[in-house]
Amino acid sequence: MDLLRHWHPVCLSRELTHRPRRVWLGGVPYAVFRTDGVIGALPDACPHRGMRLSTGRVRGGQLVCPYHGWAFGPDGVGKAPGTPQMRPHTACLEAVERDGAIWMRRPGATGPFPAVGPGGFHPVSVTRHRAAAPLEATMDNFTEVEHTGAVHWMLGYAPEAAEAVQVEVTARPDAVRVYNRGPQRPLPAALRALIGLGPADDFIDDWTSYFSPVHTLFEQYWIEGGTEARRPATVRIGVVYTPVHDDVTDIYTFVHTNAEGSGPRALALRLMLRAFAEVEVRLDASLLGRLEEGRGGLEGRRLGRFDKALRLQRQRIERLYRGPA
């Protein structure tokens, strides 16, 4: 298993201050740090005596080990103050700050960077939530709408309307697309007016999952009941699933909208979206921690019409994400 050939977000930009930070990927700890506008990422153990570099500090463009003062740059090249002729070095990762997160992979890896950025949209929020569940089970939750009726208060479809929800799954060698269309669940009139919806609109949740790294790009919009006219409001959400440990997954959510401008309505809509993303993803994350043993495996489970994509996704995770390059 070689996760480092894919880009993964390992923390949010705002979580990485001038102090280094310990992050985990696939059960392995790394120290990430900022210096002169560059992001460094090193294995979180000094090659000297194994001290956690993430407990050190950044000085002169290098991460300084708190134990003996050995110091390493983002390229892994270091120096040992007590023995200047020695040229210690440590493995390093390629790290970058983009779209509000810190990402890393092995230098020279050629995995593409996931398109979770704004594209032409307006950024709303970037969040990280931790789920006590394996990557596959976490992804399952984001790629079926059947749970939305019971779990969420605004996202997705009302339980009584679930039967009417249309689900179309399209499999490509490198992607799985799911198109859902059904009646928008009842919302307070003020909220409906804010988004620009009528009382009989359909909600469309159209997403595609990719597997290097594992992520899903959602496009959510509404169609006016009767006229079939598309409403102006569009929400675009990118979700990247980072395996922290085998049974722990970080969910990075990148929310965008086409509601632009600085008027009160656009502002209120973006604030509402930000709150909505925070609340709804938090609900998912806490729910995932309550899966019974088997931890979300599909063997022996009774799957329904909403679960068609899950098997397709697992095959692709094995082949494209965990499998050999």
Binding site: E94, V96, F113, G120
Partner: protein, 386 residues
Amino acid sequence: MGRPRRYGRAVTRETTETLIIGAGPSGLAVAACLAQRGAPFTQVDAASAVGSSWRGHYDRLHLHTARAHSGLPGLPFPEHLPRYPSRDQVIAYLEAYAAHHGLQPRLGVTVRRARREADAWAVETDAGGFTARHLVVATGYNAVPRRPTFPGEASFPGRVLHSRDYRTGATFRGQRAVVVGNGNSGAEIALDLWEQGASAVTLVLGGPRYVVPREVAGVSAQQVSLAYARLPRRLADAIARRTTRLALGDLRPWGFREPEAGPITEVERHGRVALIDVGTIALIKQGRIATLPGLARFEGADVVSPDGRRVPADVVVLATGYQAGLAAFLDGADAVLDDRGYPRWHGAACPPLPGLFFAGFRNPATGALRESGLEAERIAAAIAGR
């Protein structure tokens, strides 16, 4: 015994009030404005579909100006699109625009020659000739790739291509890429190559150029330009220079050079709009995309900068821009073109060549599509007399 008659398109000659060459945004806008005024016209385009320049662009491209300020006369962009529509969304819009106005350009018709005769324009195409009182040239800012050649290029073992032939960086995954040109295409193609997994990306900067972010705190570069357009030029230059530096910081450590003239003067005098950054600069500052000050020559499998730095490359993308290519078919072009080969008159009659109008040859910071719309209205008013 007469000569055998040739049927079909080759020998026809048509007379039309106005001939529009080009069915991109500008040509479509002029056609729509004429149609709206009830003025007769014929429209031709060499390509097999409307908006061919846009179809030729790379996949990642988005409109650099906001949708709300980029609609053509008579039909805004659909509201559900993002603020900066993608290439495919622009193409879909142009198709919808043509359909909305009932425009049916004759496609696949290449103009060979256009010349002023007595009191009309004689235009020869590969599908017959046209005689027209008015000629609207809307063949586009981006008609012909500008492709410099470099010493040593012939023995370079890698691939060299113009940005016109670049679709996506996925083609070059794992390769060492060099992109030449510090315009919008160069910067965005470098970004695309990096995102798609090129193993190393180097951007070769050309001459001095301003760089601005696409937007700051939700205010787009285009909106700022629209505001500057109302100020005296010297004042606008002073403010723009200051804010440009504030927005992205001092980029000289990475080899960028600032022009001597102010940002507004740069556009007006040299037609050089600022580079609108969509994320490349952040990667350059983080050391993920390297820069070179220029490209002097190829040597073996390396590119070499004027100051002697060498970068090995598997692929070199020349984002070196385009030419209008007007002199190739327009008789008497010298009288109406500037030294860069672009028209000296825009959206208005050209005094040296009566009946001739150029549409869509400007690329102002306020937005090329927006400008095309304004020019189209003026041209249609001049032709239709209202």
